[in-house]
């Protein structure tokens, strides 16, 4: 095996790991760094449950190799809350019952946060298309879309 050493930053923390180049960033986050919040629903970039940001860019961590993390800034669902304070999106997801089983929730949160950072006033259609790569099999998306709308409204009010 031609394992490689990688230095990266995950949720602001410096992290080093050694991995096989075939391992995805998702494999590395879960199995080597112990951050299991990102979920593997498909392994082929079709479900979005493993969504993270790499240098601020929303991606499926199953479509990124672990070795590509070298020198990057990775943000995962575990980094969304600030200490005990939940992000407004997290609050709204809970308040609006926008999760049933919750397996898609980490990916939805990472993706929706990324959207609201770019657009604090998305339309329903914009939210739905932005989240089209985040499959949810439980909710039918209704409550998820409402939670994102409510979070956007709060963020706008907070200025």
């Amino acid at each position: 095996m031609s394992n490689q050493a990688v230095s990266t930053t995950v949720n602001g923390d410096p992290v080093q790991f050694v991995c096989d180049p075939r391992e995805t960033l998702l494999d590395v986050l879960r199995d080597r760094i112990g951050l299991t919040g990102s979920k593997e629903g498909c392994g082929t970039g079709d479900c979005g449950a493993c969504s993270v940001t790499v240098d601020g860019r929303l991606v499926c961590s199953c479509l990124v190799l672990g070795v590509e993390a070298e020198g990057k800034k990775i943000e995962t669902v575990e980094g969304i809350a600030e200490g005990p304070n939940l992000h407004v999106l997290q609050e709204k997801i809970i308040e609006h019952a926008a999760l049933q089983c919750g397996i898609c929730t980490p990916g939805i949160l990472v993706a929706a946060k990324n959207l609201l950072e770019k657009n604090t006033n998305p339309t329903e259609t914009e939210i739905r298309y932005w989240l089209a790569g985040n499959l949810c099999r439980c909710t039918g998306y209704d409550k998820i879309v409402r939670a994102v709308q409510a979070a956007a409204e709060d963020l706008r009010k907070a200025g």
């Binding site: 995805t24 929303l58 499926c60 199953c62 479509l63 190799l65 989240l131």
Partner: protein, 287 residues
């Protein structure tokens, strides 16, 4: 699998040339990683292109032409302030590939080199008349995008060759492009049929046109007869019917899990009419 991250194209070519077994270049990775995961292709050598200078650049040249780096993602094209104003069809074609997450990674070059007849960005890229620069052990060469794919999963590039740049000609006056695809859902599908149209007007009349069809033949196909059907017209209903007829005549699709032959041929005509109309309307309001 060995992973390399060269800092120049020369180094990339040398790595590819020296490698044994299967070599893959990693631009966005949205195809390479899926193939790896599904045990379709496990490369022996993976050459990551993203550390090479300039691969993330989108440049508008003085003559109005564009150079797009090989590691520019779909999201970066969509976010570019002016590229989409001049080439809306190309940008929307790229934007249709996969989810927001996939857009963060997928690239034009990756889409092209994957060799899929259903690739969304490739018909639009062909319709622009784009040319790629290819570097190999014997130096560099220019190649029309239309000459890159040779069959499903196949390209005309040699094993040691790598695309280093995509060049899109100047937009020019009174012209526009458009791309649309048919999928059963609204997102996340592979095109069942894809169509790109690039045209130029003189007044109300179409004077130049390129019509390109995806997913209806073993390779993405420029359809000269379809262009002929609308050149010299104001895209009236008769012209559109002729366009549809020409497009359908050029279709040689297959029956598969995504659509039937019958369906693809019919929808190819429908799409061509719709896309031509969009391009035409855009060109009318273009400067």
């Amino acid at each position: 699998m060995k992973y390399h991250k060269p800092t120049s194209f020369k180094e990339a070519v040398a790595l590819a040339e020296g490698a044994e077994g299967v070599t893959r270049f990693l631009a966005g990775g949205t195809d390479v990683l899926v193939q790896l995961r599904l045990d379709i292709v496990t490369p022996d050598t993976l050459v990551d292109m993203k550390a090479i200078a300039g691969v993330k650049d989108i440049t508008r040249n003085e003559d109005g032409s564009w150079d797009i780096g090989v590691a520019v993602s779909g999201a970066e094209m969509t976010e570019h302030p002016t590229l989409g104003k001049e080439w809306p069809g190309l940008v929307e074609a790229m934007d249709l590939i996969g989810s927001t997450q996939v857009q963060g990674r997928a690239t034009l070059v990756g889409n092209l080199c994957n060799g899929s007849p259903a690739a969304d960005s490739v018909p639009a890229l062909m319709a622009t008349g784009a040319v790629v620069t290819v570097e190999g052990k014997n130096g560099t060469r220019q190649l029309a995008v239309a000459d890159v794919p040779t069959g499903p999963g196949k390209t005309s590039l040699a094993a040691h060759e790598v695309i280093t740049n995509i060049h899109i000609p100047p937009r020019g006056q009174n012209a526009a492009d458009a791309y649309e695809r048919f999928i059963p859902r609204t997102e996340m599908d592979i095109a069942v049929v894809g169509c790109a149209v690039n045209l130029r007007l003189d007044g109300d009349k179409i004077v130049e046109a390129t019509v390109v069809m995806g997913a209806v033949a073993p390779t993405i196909r420029i359809v000269p007869d379809a262009a002929k059907a609308i050149i010299g017209t104001t895209l009236d209903d008769a012209a559109k019917d002729k366009l549809a007829e020409a497009v359908r005549a050029a279709c040689q699709p297959i029956d598969d899990k995504r659509g039937t032959i019958e369906f693809r041929v019919h929808v190819a005509g429908v799409l061509a009419k719709r896309v031509a109309q969009t391009a035409y309307d855009r060109a009318r309001t273009a400067h």
